[in-house]
């Protein structure tokens, strides 16, 4: 059930955008020598050599539907943004591609049609992408999420955003909005990424409300709306008045929360339309700038051995490229005082502070990050505990 589609070339208007982007690119190039410049080079400058250069066709592979109001739609929006920046390239998309050899087949088909750059946007595609990278040395494989054990092939990478930073900020909004001091979190699986989000949410809320607790339910499925509904109802009836989640499909929990006249903090996308009254804010993907930056880096022939040719992560503190995760617009009930608290916290993170700055205690009261210390990249990427204040347990 793989649908290969071709995104139409941009309208003439975009030529103007291209011209503007070109000018902006020149200015940016003049101002910074940072390899990962935010401006987009859409075509290889004369003589640029290396994997992925002279790309006229770019492929995007998604695990779910491009219209899921979630993770995959956000990636597809990034593809659209890239098309806008580079109207002359042809973008091929394949969605609902399982994390199996189907991914290899979809990629091979795209390479057969001339694709030089493949965005492999699902966590579980990694091994297939690495395998393809060994076979097609002239094609660059960009793997969204996951981790390639070094050495990273010179024509591949992984990239992701520090999602927990926005989740922490959204936690501040939740900590301020709650009246019962009970927040609810509908999670799927206890993987490090999810535990990070739960912890960041609780820590953000605690930073403005020391009494607040986050009640967590794992559903054991990325998208089982029936189970999401019962998780949301259990949380709501136990008194939780702000619900958030880490699920692939998000509408069921948000709608159940709105129906109960409680507050929602979203994930993946701006779902304010589903909760006109209870929407606080949320974490929203914004892949366009990073996709553009990586593409132009490839076209300028600097990818191999360059800034992106690694397990690349970036957050708010990144200056050259905006973080791929941003805070969604605020709902009507968020007070100005809350907004300014969030703005202050965001500034601190921009200046290099981490939401995971010690002392951080786990549920049993054991110190996980010492006082005054920042959690290391390894502590972040291998998180295996829930912080004090989270109610719920990690299945063993």
């Amino acid at each position: 059930m793989t649908h290969l589609q071709t995104t139409s070339r941009g309208a003439r208007l975009y030529r103007w955008a291209l011209a503007l982007a070109g000018v902006a690119g020149l200015i940016a190039f003049a101002m910074t020598t940072h390899a990962a410049s935010a401006a987009t080079t859409c075509a290889s400058p004369g003589g640029a050599k290396g994997p992925g250069t002279n790309a006229k066709v770019v492929g995007f592979i998604y695990v779910g539907s491009k219209t899921d109001y979630g993770y995959n739609q956000a990636a597809a929006a990034g593809a659209k943004a890239l098309q806008k920046q580079c109207p002359k390239i042809k973008i091929l998309e394949a969605d609902t591609v399982p994390e199996t050899s189907d991914m290899t087949r979809a990629a091979e088909q795209m390479i057969g049609q001339g694709a030089k750059v493949i965005f492999s946007t699902s966590y579980g595609y990694k091994d297939f992408a690495v395998g393809l990278a060994k076979k097609h040395k002239d094609v660059v494989f960009l793997q969204q999420g996951n981790f390639i054990t070094p050495p990273v092939p010179e024509n591949a990478n992984t990239y992701f955003g520090n999602v927990y930073e926005t989740v922490y900020l959204a936690g501040i909004a939740a900590g301020k909005a709650t009246k019962s001091n009970k927040l609810g979190f509908v999670a799927a699986f206890p993987i490090p990424q999810t535990l990070l989000n739960i912890n960041a949410f609780e820590l953000g809320a605690q930073s403005v409300n020391p009494k607040v607790k986050t009640y967590t339910v794992f559903t054991g499925n990325w998208c089982d709306p029936g189970k999401q509904a019962s998780a949301a109802k259990s949380l709501l009836s136990s008194g939780a008045d702000v619900l958030t989640q880490h699920q692939d499909c998000t509408s069921t929990v948000i709608k159940a929360t709105e129906a109960a006249k409680k507050y929602s903090v979203g994930y993946h996308s701006n779902a304010a339309a589903l909760a006109p009254k209870g929407w606080l804010t949320g974490s929203e993907w914004n892949w366009g700038p990073l996709y553009g930056a990586m593409f132009s880096n490839i076209e300028s022939g600097k990818f191999s051995g360059g800034a992106f040719n690694t397990n690349y992560t970036l957050g708010f503190a990144s200056k050259a490229i905006p973080s791929p995760m941003r805070l969604a617009p605020y709902g009507p009930s968020v007070k100005p005082a809350t907004k300014s608290k969030i703005a202050t916290a965001q500034k601190k993170i921009l200046a290099g502070a981490s939401p995971f700055t010690g002392p951080i205690y786990d549920q049993k009261g054991k110190v996980q990050v010492a006082k005054g210390k920042k959690a290391t990249a390894k502590q972040i990427s291998s998180m295996s505990y829930l912080v004090k204040g989270v109610v719920g347990n990690i299945p063993k």
Partner: protein, 297 residues
Amino acid sequence: MLITILAGAVAGGTSILYAALGETISERAGVINVGTEGTMLVGALASVAVTVETGNAWLGVLAGAGAGAALAGVFAIVTIWRGGNQLAAGLALMFLALGLTSLYGASYVGGNVDGFDEVKLPLLGSLPVLGKVLFRHDVLVYISYAVVPAVWWLLFRSRWGLLLRTAGERPETLLAYGVSPARVRTVAVITGGAFAGVGGAQLALALALSWSEGMTAGRGFIAVALVIFGAWRPLQVMAGAYLFGASITLGSVLQVNGVEVNQFFLDALPYVLTIVVLVVLVRRQRQYAPEALGQPL
């Protein structure tokens, strides 16, 4: 906590209840449709598609019933009129439905569906305990309260029910009586399919308010097992559906209350329960099952 589990049992059990009632009707006439999982999925997708396109959730429920009936109609043609094996045909149709719904449902995944909201019934909804457990649900739950006794009456007190049960016990008697057992079975199977379709519609339009591929997540199979558990009697089937609904809800309620349990075990509970039911109640199955169940005419 107990009230939450019981209320969740009713909310989560209703989609299974509709499907199991449909299966009861079908099996009482002598036809096992193990493809109920697929029938529910088709009903769920049709109900979401029609609700999104027309903005009317009632039309969505009708579409769900219609789609379920149509798929069951195909099953009836294969098994009753062409003599195909019931188990094989049921499984084949289920996989067909799984594939078709994920193909044609892709554009509805995660989208906004304006389905049925919870309605607190006046007076009844304010009753202590019972009000919270039974009378603060969506309208399809309330309809199911009336449908259960109606199905019982139809099966055990009406002439139609007598013919239907005869088709499941001694189809040859019907022939002597001048009624075609094949026709009776066909009507029963299609009715059963419509019920399963409504079950899917309740799951998508009332419980989840969304569509995603494979969203029935085994509820159709539970429904088939439940009919044995309920000894082919609507009231017992209802009790069983709520028991399964409770086991689905239990996991999240216990986690919310900080009880240290492994939720992956709890997730497996409904299916463990299904297996236990099938194993323990084998004797019951022999005792209560319609005599000509699963037998071609």
